[in-house]
């Protein structure tokens, strides 16, 4: 006898635990792979998973087994040319030998790296592990609010256009049934009595007439109950509901003057990716505007932003001016949550820094939801930092941090948004 069982609907992921164990064990390698990958990614590419490469030797499960060499006798099929005693030059390693022996050599060939994919969530969790993102998530950024009209039940008063016909007629039926109930009962009784009289052998003419009159009266009373009454009317009710907009624009401002090298730009890139990821958790659609500047600012695409070389001096205010201009042109209709992130190595033309302060204070900070400034440098702070420090003291949605090396980015990022949490709280 056989017993058939349909297991297809059973939980699929018997191996999920094992997969997690695997990720857990190789976390350090996987993390390295993930952080390497960040350089190869676009700032806005946060929806895909990532393939992770682990050198095979780190994964090996060693067992005692026979190695190369010694004396071996192997039998193979398909002899088409050999006779006993033929001597053949030993073929390259791996041919024939070893195969079919059960134990694949973990030295020798087969040293490919172990490549596999992790999902988006696994990727982000690894990337943000130090960031305690769940905590951050709770502290929603405050958003621009817009209003939306939504249905909210029924009410007895309203404009005719909002009459809900079905609901009103339901009310009408209910009212009519309720108001005629006793009369219909009487009518029913009269009709029964009349029928009994009709079967009676005697002719009770008077009684019949009385009953017929009563029936007619009851019928007319029932008919008088109005088909629809103002009392029945139901109007659809609408309410205004506050909806935070799901649109955000993120301005990436970066100094690309000669003093910014590629390593510094990579750090800035990580910061932008983090900011972008953070925003994607709050907003549905995000525009990213890249503005690079040296003595002049220019809006560019991502590739140019990070990877094209420029030289020259630095006037940071040019970028702020351009940012303001773009906001006024495109993002001023009140639906946009505007974020600014400026990265620089701190170099700025000394006379320009007070002007930056002024620009931010008078124009930009009123428009943006949050503005962060990171300074990536090993050297002492210069005028721009000092000017911004004054701003940070007086504006809660302006944040600035100093980054020295890659490791600083996560803590700095956390620092930036911790401040925001206090503000919200």
């Amino acid at each position: 006898m056989a017993n058939f069982i349909d297991r297809r609907l059973n939980s699929k992921n018997k191996s999920t635990v094992n997969r997690q164990r695997f990720l857990r064990r190789y976390k350090s390698q996987i993390k390295k792979s993930v952080s390497d990958s960040i350089n190869g990614r676009s700032v806005t590419d946060v929806d895909s998973g990532e393939s992770v490469v682990i050198p095979k030797k780190d994964l090996s499960e060693p067992i005692f087994h026979q190695g190369q060499g010694g004396v071996r006798d192997r039998v193979h099929p398909g002899n088409d040319q050999f006779t006993k005693g033929d001597k053949i030059k030993r073929p390259q390693q791996g041919q024939g030998q070893g195969s079919g022996q059960g134990n694949a050599s973990d030295s020798g060939e087969g040293n490919d790296d172990f490549v596999f994919s992790i999902s988006k969530d696994e990727y982000l969790n690894l990337l943000f592990e130090d960031l305690e993102l769940p905590n951050l998530e709770k502290n929603q950024l405050d958003k621009m609010v817009e209003y939306k009209t939504v249905r909210s039940g029924y009410c007895a008063e309203g404009v005719p256009a909002n009459i809900d016909i079905v609901k009103s007629l339901q009310g009408s039926i209910a009212r009519r049934i309720a108001m005629t109930a006793s009369k219909r009962r009487q009518l029913h009784e009269c009709q029964n009595a009349l029928e009994q009289l009709a079967q009676d052998p005697h002719e009770n003419i008077q009684q019949k007439r009385n009953l017929e009159a009563e029936i007619a009266q009851l019928k007319s009373k029932i008919a008088k109950v109005p088909f629809i009454d103002s009392f029945d009317l139901q109007y659809r009710n609408y309410a205004k509901q506050a909806v935070p907009t799901s649109k955000a624009v993120m301005f990436c401002l970066m100094d690309v003057s000669g003093s910014m090298d590629q390593a510094t730009k990579d750090m800035a890139k990580r910061f932008y990716i983090l900011l972008y990821l953070f925003l994607t958790r709050t907003y549905q659609s995000i525009d990213v505007v890249y503005i690079r500047h040296h003595t002049q600012a220019k809006e560019v695409d991502e590739q140019e932003f990070f990877y094209s070389q420029e030289t020259g001096g630095t006037i940071a205010s040019s970028a702020l001016e351009l940012m303001h201009k773009i906001i006024v042109e495109r993002y001023l209709d009140g639906n946009w949550n505007i974020y600014g992130a400026q990265a620089s190595d701190g170099d700025n033309w000394a006379d320009d820094s007070p002007y930056c302060n002024q620009l931010l204070q008078q124009k930009l900070l009123k428009l943006v939801r949050y503005f962060s400034y990171i300074e990536i440098t090993q050297r002492a702070h210069q005028t721009l930092w000092h000017e911004y420090e004054k701003l940070a003291a007086s504006h809660s949605h302006f944040a600035m941090q100093h980054i020295r090396s890659v490791e600083d980015i996560y803590p700095v990022f956390r620092q930036l948004f911790k401040k925001n949490r206090q503000q919200v709280a």
Binding site: R8, S15, R24, Q97
Partner: protein, 524 residues
């Protein structure tokens, strides 16, 4: 819908078997399977299996998806496996290769248990399901029940219970002692898994509850024994102890067993984990030794049973063509110079050997009568059952590989001595070569030649508690470099110095691996 459309015209095919005449109604050969159809096929297949006197466990046939099949792969075919990262790794590997199309999944997995659990993949066509049922549920199943190795080494009744016990136990340990601790212990055990097999004693049968109860008792008892062994009595150090007394008295090949019983510092739960891994290793041991026979037997029966159904007119030509296509792929043997060659295909060798035995019984040639005087001309069914029951790959080949098969396969033997710059053809498929090839091929399946021969020769219980193992090379084949890594794992379990020695040609033992490594050669 299409099922009916397909069956109608096929019913006109003449019925060739007399037994079932009149009642024969051809089974649907629609590619889509349904549970009713599976059952119809299963009933017919079982009838034929009984006709051929196959003795099998009751079947439990489970239909699963491809993803579940990959899960099953990852847990090396155990229906319930404990959690371990290496299974995750296997799963990821399988998933990768499967998704990229490098590899198809097996059509079935069958588990040596009672009832015998067989997994059928949802994607299979009806023909494939029938093939798989005949192959797994009657072929493998009867092999598990009949072969002497399985009879004496595994216990089909209790394995699922035991695996459940193991999973729960290890899960409990993880909660009590932390995942890392348990993982380290399992890693170490897995490294020694091939050396956790008891080749001589028969393991006992017990149920789940009993296993639980015994585990508790064993835990207490084992620890007391170990303590006894390592007890340091404040005796006077003079000459009271004869120095020659060795422990263990005889070399021990079951490393895990030795560790479980004697490792000085293992905690009771670690001993239990060692035991679990050892038990599972033991359970799989017969499968390693009977790959050719097991697959050959299953192939022979799916081939025979489905052909029998065809002869009875129960399955259509269309069914047979699809079946033969799959069958031929499974038992194909690429030649040594083919790009698809990866050693001898156990399905091909096994299948052809069983077919050949049947031929020798039914139509023996003069040559067969010379080579196989006791089976030539005998009742083929009895002979086949006897062969299945009483051999393993090694002995099966050395007993039944016929000259005809050697010619058909064009087998040849290569002698490869490291000392020479060439390899030599030692034998080919001719009169003088048959015997040699048969012996060589048989040795090729001899596990004791394939697995590293490592035995525990000494545990220094009176001194530094160091453990000495000895590697005895087979045909001068050295131990692979992984030995150092494995010793680290062994050290993790033993927790005192571990040495691996090999005897050189002059009879001197010298250390080929050691853990912990000696410090910067101070001794020299």
């Amino acid at each position: 819908m299409s099922e009916q459309a397909n069956t109608m015209p096929n019913q006109t095919i003449p019925n060739q078997d007399t037994k079932n005449q009149g009642t024969v109604k051809m089974l649907s050969d629609s590619p889509e399977w349904t549970f009713e159809l599976l059952e119809q096929y299963q009933v017919e297949i079982e009838r034929v299996a009984n006709y051929y006197q196959l003795d099998f466990y009751p079947n439990q046939i489970e239909v699963i998806t491809a993803e579940q099949m990959m899960d099953a792969y990852a847990s090396v075919g155990m229906p319930i496996g404990y959690s371990h990262w290496s299974y995750g790794k296997k799963f990821i590997q399988t998933e990768q290769t499967y998704k990229r199309g490098y590899m198809g999944l097996a059509y079935e997995i069958v588990i040596n248990s009672n009832p015998c659990i067989a997994y059928l993949m949802e994607e299979n066509t009806m023909t494939m399901q029938a093939l798989v049922m005949a192959h797994a549920c009657y072929g493998h199943n009867s092999f598990f029940k009949g072969n002497y190795l399985f009879k004496s080494w595994t216990d089909a009744d209790s394995i699922v219970d035991y695996l459940l016990f193991a999973k729960n136990y290890i899960h409990e340990c993880e909660q009590k002692y932390g995942i890392d601790e348990v993982e380290a212990c399992l890693d170490a055990c897995h490294a020694l898994m091939n050396h956790g097999v008891d080749r001589y004693k028969r393991p006992q049968k017990i149920s789940l509850e009993e296993e639980d109860k015994r585990q508790q008792e064993r835990e207490a008892y084992l620890q007391s024994q170990v303590n006894m062994l390592w007890r340091t009595l404040p005796k006077d150090d003079s000459h009271s102890q004869p120095k020659t007394q060795k422990f263990p008295a005889e070399p021990q090949e079951n490393l895990l067993y030795f560790i479980e019983k004697n490792a000085p510092l293992l905690t009771p739960w670690q001993r239990e984990i060692v035991r679990i891994v050892r038990k599972i290793s033991q359970y799989f041991y017969p499968q390693k030794q009977t790959q050719v026979m097991n697959e050959g037997w299953a192939c022979f029966w799916h081939y025979t049973i489905l052909n029998h159904l065809y002869d009875e007119g129960l399955v259509s030509d269309k069914f047979m063509i699809e079946f033969l296509h799959s069958h031929t792929n499974v038992v194909a043997q690429p030649e040594f110079n083919s790009q698809y060659y990866s050693g001898i295909n156990p399905y091909a060798l096994g299948f052809n050997m069983f077919v050949d035995i049947k031929r020798i019984c039914q139509h023996p040639t003069e040559e067969d009568k010379r080579w196989f005087p006791d089976i030539a001309g005998s009742d083929w069914l009895k002979t086949l059952h006897w062969a299945m029951e009483n051999f393993k790959d090694e002995s099966f080949i050395s007993q039944f590989l016929s000259p005809k098969l050697i010619r058909d396969f064009k087998l040849f033997q290569i002698h490869d001595d490291e000392k020479n710059s060439f390899v030599e053809i030692a034998a080919i498929h001719n009169d003088s070569g048959y015997q040699e090839i048969r012996t060589a091929l048989s040795n090729q399946y001899n596990l004791s030649n394939l697995e590293a021969n490592i035995q525990i020769t000494d545990a220094n219980i009176h001194g530094d508690r160091s453990l000495t193992l000895k590697y005895t090379p087979h045909q001068d084949i050295p131990l692979a470099d992984s030995k150092d890594e494995v010793l680290k794992h062994l050290y993790h379990l033993w927790q005192f110095e571990v040495k691996l020695v090999e005897t050189d040609e002059h009879g001197h033992d010298h250390i080929i691996a050691q853990c912990p490594r000696p410090k910067a050669k101070e001794d020299n």
